[in-house]
């Protein structure tokens, strides 16, 4: 049974991304025209009704975010499309940029029109190097057809987009670190004393949105918000692109309506576990996301239900692990990632990851002590509460949820001699 939907992913593999004509034939830029007819206020209220939230992971109301930005005055205002997609197991933004770059651009133009922005940046992660020029080409075509540049479609909007990239740090997905990176500084999060919408890139008003968030805007306007909110649940409206991967038969990026169960995602969409094995756990939202045991797969995939179980939608990554995976070994791979990617700026993240790595390694080799379990939990919490940015705050999420759901796996790795002493 096909449980996927086609709202944002409607155009995937339907047209040649190097041809703007083909995009236009599929109804491209109609949403922009509609947006110009609606005017900024109506767009914002439509987005509020749509319940669209930041799809990069933070899940902040897009309508409200755009409203803040629209209310900030400034001759030069920026829109940044966050295509840093560094979250492990996440690849849905890559699909969008690869198969429907014009929709992302269209979303950015609508954002620019709504907020009165003048300059756009698409910050594409270094590792998606092959996409850089493809997206540049799409921008060039949009410019040639008058969708970018001066007085776009007679609306009076002047807007241009540039593609930029950093040096490949995960933390640059954090919006202030991303801004630092565009400014040419090393990617470390900034102390936010004022909202980015007031003082962001080069100290000017800036709106930062994830690729998927921007790509969701044209379909919402085009199909009408009433139609859009038929998808999803009452509180988690619409659809979400997920990146399904791990030990499943059919990994890939899929669009699902909120409210679908995890079981449906894994078995109906993903075709079940590879080699007929048993499901052991899932990690939702990438390396910074929670670990969910197999017994919870009947919960609904939506913001509220996941939160109840200490998990979140996050970036939309769903990593499936079968019975052959040891939780502690899996945590080591997560920890190896974070100790590599911590920027080092704040104490809890820099030193916390250092200590967590040491202790988790002891669990992997079976040399851990009973104290180690307490210590690792204590400092995971210090990181969670004390870290400067989202990276450090969420780095121990997998560990903390693993301790919650798989305590036995930790005890099994505790050194017998030390356990009894």
């Amino acid at each position: 049974m096909n449980r996927t939907v086609n709202i944002i992913s409607k155009n995937f593999k339907k047209y040649n991304p190097e041809s703007i004509e083909e995009y236009l034939e599929l109804g491209g830029f109609e949403a922009l025209k509609k947006a110009i007819e609606m005017g900024p206020q109506e767009i914002i209220s439509t987005l509020k009704t749509s319940g669209l939230k930041g799809r990069g992971g933070a899940a902040f109301s897009t309508g409200r975010k755009w409203e803040y930005s629209a209310n900030v005055k400034g001759d030069k205002k920026f829109i940044i499309c966050n295509a840093d997609e560094g979250e492990p197991a996440t690849f849905k933004d890559r699909y969008l940029l690869e198969y429907d770059p014009f929709k992302v651009i269209e979303g950015m133009i609508i954002a620019a029109y709504t907020t009165g922005s003048t300059d756009g940046y698409i910050y594409i992660r270094e590792e998606y190097k092959y996409l850089h020029n493809k997206v540049r080409k799409a921008i060039e075509l949009a410019e040639k057809h008058g969708f970018l540049g001066k007085n776009i479609l007679g609306s009076g909007l002047n807007f241009n987009i540039k593609v930029v990239s950093g040096a490949g740090a995960y933390v640059c997905g954090e919006s202030t670190a991303l801004i630092e990176s565009i400014e040419g500084k090393s990617g470390r999060p900034r102390l936010k004393l004022t909202r980015t919408s007031k003082q962001g890139l080069f100290g000017l008003p800036t709106l930062v949105n994830n690729v998927e968030t921007l790509a969701a805007v044209p379909p919402i306007l085009e199909m009408g918000v009433e139609e859009y909110i038929k998808y999803g649940t009452h509180t988690s409206k619409g659809t979400k692109l997920i990146s399904l991967c791990g030990n499943v038969n059919k990994p890939g990026a899929y669009e699902v309506p909120f409210g679908i169960t995890l079981r449906e995602i894994i078995y109906d969409i993903g075709g079940g576990i590879k080699d007929g094995k048993q499901l052991k756990f899932l990690q939702l939202g990438g390396a910074s996301g929670a670990i969910i045991p197999a017994k919870l797969i009947d919960i609904k995939y939506c913001y509220e239900d996941l939160e109840e179980h200490g998990a979140s939608v996050g970036s939309g990554a769903i990593l499936v692990a079968d019975e052959t995976n040891k939780v502690t070994h899996f945590l080591k791979s997560v920890q190896d990632f974070f100790i590599h990617e911590s920027c080092g700026k704040c104490t809890p993240c820099r030193e916390g990851n250092r200590q967590l790595t040491k202790i988790i390694n002891r669990f992997v080799t079976g040399n851990a002590s009973v104290e180690d379990l307490k210590t690792v939990e204590k400092f995971a919490n210090v990181m969670k509460y004390a870290s400067f940015c989202g990276l450090g705050q969420t780095a121990p999420t997998a560990l903390l949820t693993a301790i919650k759901y798989f305590p036995v796996e930790f005890y099994q790795q505790i050194d017998r001699i030390r356990k009894t002493s």
Partner: protein, 590 residues
Amino acid sequence: MKNCTITIDNKEVTVPEGTSILEAAKKVSINIPTLCNHPDQTVKANCRICLVETKPGKLETACSTKVRDGMTINTVSKLVRDTQRGVLELILANHPQDCLKCIRNGKCELQKLCEMFHISKSNLEDEIDALEKDESNPSIVRDHSKCIKCNRCIEVCQEVQGVSILSHAHRSTKYCITPAFEKKLVNTLCVFCGQCTSVCPVGALYEKDDTEKVWNALYNDNLHVIVQIAPAVRVSIGEEFGAKPGTKVTGKVVAALRRLGFDKVFDTDFTADLTIMEEGHELLDRINRGGTLPMITSCSPGWINYIEGFYPQLLDHLSSCKSPQQMFGALSKTYYAKKLDLDPSQIFTVSIMPCTAKKYEAERKEMSSYGYRDVDAVLTTRELARMIKSASIDFLNIEEENFDEPFGITTGAGVIFGVTGGVMEAALRTVYEVVTEHELENLDFMDVRGLEGIKEATVDLNGTPIKVAVAHGLSNAKKILNQINEGKSDYTFIEVMCCPGGCIGGGGQPIGSTMKVREERIKGIYDVDKVMPLRKSHENPAVKELYEEFLGQPLGKISHKLLHTTYSPRSEKIDFDYLQWNNEIALTEE
């Protein structure tokens, strides 16, 4: 401005909007622990010690979070304490615990936190980074295995001094504070001002300790060991012994130095007066003969390092006068040696300076007279305090004594060299009287005093108005240099001091030189000036005698040889022969 009423630990307080939680808490007598926070610097919030609970289960840093009306803050909840302690434990696990051997023992902000939290046991395994100490230069030691990455040194280096030698590199556990490409300081354009050592909360940056060198000289019976003390030291060294900042302890320092065994105790103020004679005449000479103007003072060695490194095209603007320290040294090996009938090699000249760059200055090859080093050893205020402590001298109760003659006879003009604007004021007092042949009615040039970054004044010299400027802190000096560079400067004479506040805020001064402390020290200096019987350099009888007996006249032949110097551009890779000081460590760097 709107007020916010908040509750901190069940106590209500009303503060203006925009106040940080940290400041608001002080109003109800709660000092939230901090580490990266510094009163003169921007908020960084990277150590994460100052977390408080702003909502159940939500922690925010008190330093960076502004109060919101109606906020309820808990600074002692279990979550707060556990997290603060946890952060501290994490720092400690990466910090060498050789406190007893550490130069900052007793003055370390991390140590203070540990005292507050008393972490006797931690389940964390220590992992201390094995990093090489940078002892490549004569002024500053960088032991970054002790660094807690607070970023204060970076701010002072980049924003206050504008030299941007220190920055951060790498990430995660390799994250470190370092010069670009992890060069040693000697191979950078570091000016050795030592401001980083002054803001470092721990023992990661400190002055190169030369006390042993001085002790050895004192123990050597064949050496005649003399010492000079800089003006700024007398209003700050008391702090090391518990006195209030700005307390004048001149007589006590003199007495303590004699107890330590120095043969003669002299005052750098004397050569400050001499500097005014030479520099004042040089200025008049440049004005009369159409020399390079504006002329800029040259007594601050950090400043000299800066202009040599960053604005070599403007070196002609520098006065050719050596600094008072070096003038003293030159005279000690010539005039003084002859007076005492000693061979210069028998004289060991020590100077007590508020400054780390003075150590570097003393090593320069230009700084020798007839083959003898002008100054043999330079101690910072902190090092002298260390010597006094190790000699068990009860500093605050010691009976005051006077300087020796002849280099102990000084004026108020020499004293104010210790503050920003002081050299300018001293010069104006003399230049005005030399040119106009009238006595100055008011000796206080208020326009050039105070802590404003750049100060200006105009003085009428026999109908010719001359415009002068005073800058302190190199980022302010930079603005003035850029004006000269663009040909837009209409100043005739400029005073530049490397450190904010002038020498009283020098990098070798007692730890804790906040702006507030600097202000107190400045007040102390002007109080000393006010009560001096003589306040103009050209009225110093010992200086007059020196010219009569030895130098002849200002800018004369002997002056030129002993009291003046030359400058040359500095490149990042400095020529090691350039320094008399021989350092193997520096040479081992590729």
